[in-house]
Symmetry: C2
Subunit: 501 residues, 2 copies
Amino acid sequence: MNEKFKELKVLLGEISDLHAAAAVLGWDQQTYMPLGGAESRAMQLTTLAKKTHELFISDKIGQLLTDIEAKAGDLDYDSFEASLIRVTRRNYDRLKRLSPKLVAALAKATSLGDIAWRKAREKSDFSIFQPDLEKILDLTIQKAEALGYKERIYDALLYDFEPEMKTAQVEKLFNEMKVELIPLVKAISERQGVLDDSIFNQDFDIDKQWAFGIEVIKRLGFDFKHGRQDCSTHPFTTSFSTNDVRLTTRVYKDQFKVALSGSIHEAGHGMYEQGIDQAFNRTILRGGASTGVHESQSRLWENVVGRSMEFWTFWLPHLKKYFPNQLKDVDVESFYRAINKVSPSLIRVDADEATYNLHIFLRFEIENLMLEHKIKVKELPELWNLKMKEYFGICPTNDAEGVLQDIHWSMGGIGYFPTYSLGNLLSVLFYNRALKDVPEIPGQIKEGNFIPLLNWMREKIYNEGAKYTPDELVKRVTGEPICTKPFLTYVQKKYTDIYGL
Amino acid sequence: MNEKFKELKVLLGEISDLHAAAAVLGWDQQTYMPLGGAESRAMQLTTLAKKTHELFISDKIGQLLTDIEAKAGDLDYDSFEASLIRVTRRNYDRLKRLSPKLVAALAKATSLGDIAWRKAREKSDFSIFQPDLEKILDLTIQKAEALGYKERIYDALLYDFEPEMKTAQVEKLFNEMKVELIPLVKAISERQGVLDDSIFNQDFDIDKQWAFGIEVIKRLGFDFKHGRQDCSTHPFTTSFSTNDVRLTTRVYKDQFKVALSGSIHEAGHGMYEQGIDQAFNRTILRGGASTGVHESQSRLWENVVGRSMEFWTFWLPHLKKYFPNQLKDVDVESFYRAINKVSPSLIRVDADEATYNLHIFLRFEIENLMLEHKIKVKELPELWNLKMKEYFGICPTNDAEGVLQDIHWSMGGIGYFPTYSLGNLLSVLFYNRALKDVPEIPGQIKEGNFIPLLNWMREKIYNEGAKYTPDELVKRVTGEPICTKPFLTYVQKKYTDIYGL
């Protein structure tokens, strides 16, 4: 088996290299590529996707897997070898169902879709993006049908992000959340007056914001020798190995919270990627357990840590050195309340912890309707606005702050959104578990020492890469299955305190 | 034939996409990649090189070529189809001789060599780079032997840069140049006192230098909708299509000439790439006729145009707006003389037009000695310094300003250097020809109108892409073969005037 395993590893290493190459091209497309480069980039990504897919679903890899599996019975389930074989098999069987032609068509449609989405967003005109989204939706449905599903078409797509999780399970969790969150948001809305966040109605120099964000994420533990941060319209994290992890954020002088929360959020993803076992490089195990588990880390660092009183007890004095005029009169108590202000807003990524999940419920419902042919693409802006009214009581005045705000559909990421709310649930589950093991963490955060928390996450989660399904990992780490209670308790307590509910 | 030609074009298009992908990874490696990303990048580039090579030398492409050639007899030599078939055949026969294993080994050695070269250069210690260069040289010799040659091993490598040109021809040209240039440099050296360039011994704000460089190359005709400029240690140009062309430069506050000449030089390459027929995208014809012809354009814009009296007549008043204090007392005559000051210097890329070629002769001679086993890699620093003394009368005090200054060998680019001097010869040949057709060009330059010259170059050279060998192109454009006289006349006249020889 040893020889065959080695041979398989070489082939998978090459496939991993080509995936990484595509990721570099994707990163460049979002950060530095001149507008004119878009069409050739679409072709390059299409070819890379097609060739990589062809190599992966080759009979050679299928045969090697079968041969290796026949003799792998005595391998420890948790071992690198068993995990690599298991996860490769899972992906192989799944992707084998997709023709290279469909993969190439999707890659092309989404690359071109990205261009159209940008244009549409800039002009705030959904009709520019509509034909592209129709094409992408059509191909995505073809993909889901080819992959197959038992209950819901959404299941087939969700699998890409949350292996082995079902749509019904997500719906159950979301329903539990809705029951508590909608009344909570309502109660808070009625007490808007008690919270003053006017300190953020000032200008904050862009370069200084950038420098402060870098200082923060460096101290959290993001390693700039093995990563960097750049600007992009839509913040994201990508990585080409555990040693080359790229974050992006965006900075506006009149929106202080945007850049910092973007930096910390992406650094959460980035530290996850940097913390994966080095031995997993150039294999399918170099990655998070799922998108939701990944999101648990961005949300943990952005919110559970980054909007806590302990965090700002340490950081506010530093921030005041960057912005002495803007912040001279503010104490940590008021700053903490201001940065946690809840206000029903149009934009998901700028939302607070209480309203954030409502944005997700809306998208999740719309995606299901789209996939089940219950709504047409051209009806999306109207439905979006209706649902915004229903959930938030507010309505976008244009497509850019409505249906066009997110990049995901243009990238073919239908099925991705639920992972954000799953991430919120998991962030609190994991944090509570870390506190049980290391009760000193809040005190350490107060002193600017984030490393014990990071180390706990590294050991329990990051290091394991993609060895386990999200369900497996959550059970291993917390001893229980994914559930809503800890998150809801956390949110209830936090906002009851802040708003004196 | 039509169907088979279409099929071939699809396959070559995919190969071209993968080449472009590798170019994006190379660009990122030189501009933004964090240090820690180097090893994984080396693997990614290795895999891309290997896969691309395998696809290109496949029997399928060989068979398609043969089938198509059998029916292509009546195609016009200059047509797109005939040119694509001809150039593909030339490359196919040549690359077929290289095993994917050797190609992968070279890609890996040069990716790792790049890391070692950077480290060595930073510490100014050749011994750090020596083992890598030994490996690269060994593989390069294997490559040359596999490719085959009749007279000189150098011929096999030169072909990559100057298709169908011979080392003996280069030597003859270089000898003709030496006979005139060495005495010229000597005569100038004896009159050092007559020229004052002390205006450049001042500090020039880095951001303003950057902005001025952008203003200049925009006006020359570099299109920022289809390209951009970034920073890198070693300026270079790369492109991923005619619509996505990347330049780099470097800026130092105490070395005004470096950034501007870097920007203009690379913009020359960039405008060439942007000017290639759009129909050549995703084919082997999207590229220059040769590296030397490419270099003719960078040297044309950098020197023949960018260091001319006409150029500075227009630009000096603009430059003064950026640097009113530094330049308040200088007139165009003195500025022109200052920017053309000849001084034997250690660094090739900073050299003036008179001494530049001596740097090339030195490298060309050393490369031949290396390839013919007449010198060992470890002896290079000493030989380098000896030759510097011989040609320039000066000697580097450390490896960074000596043998380690250039990136080329670390990239496996042995055989590349002569193209710079060929470029110098061609820049004057082409410019003189343009003047015959459009005698108004100098007057137009004086008024800041560079487009007529650019359009001439576009029509005669850029647009043709890689359809012709350099010899073919030079004969088509100028009516004569490549020769030294026009360049030598140009240099003699320019410096006789400036130095009053």
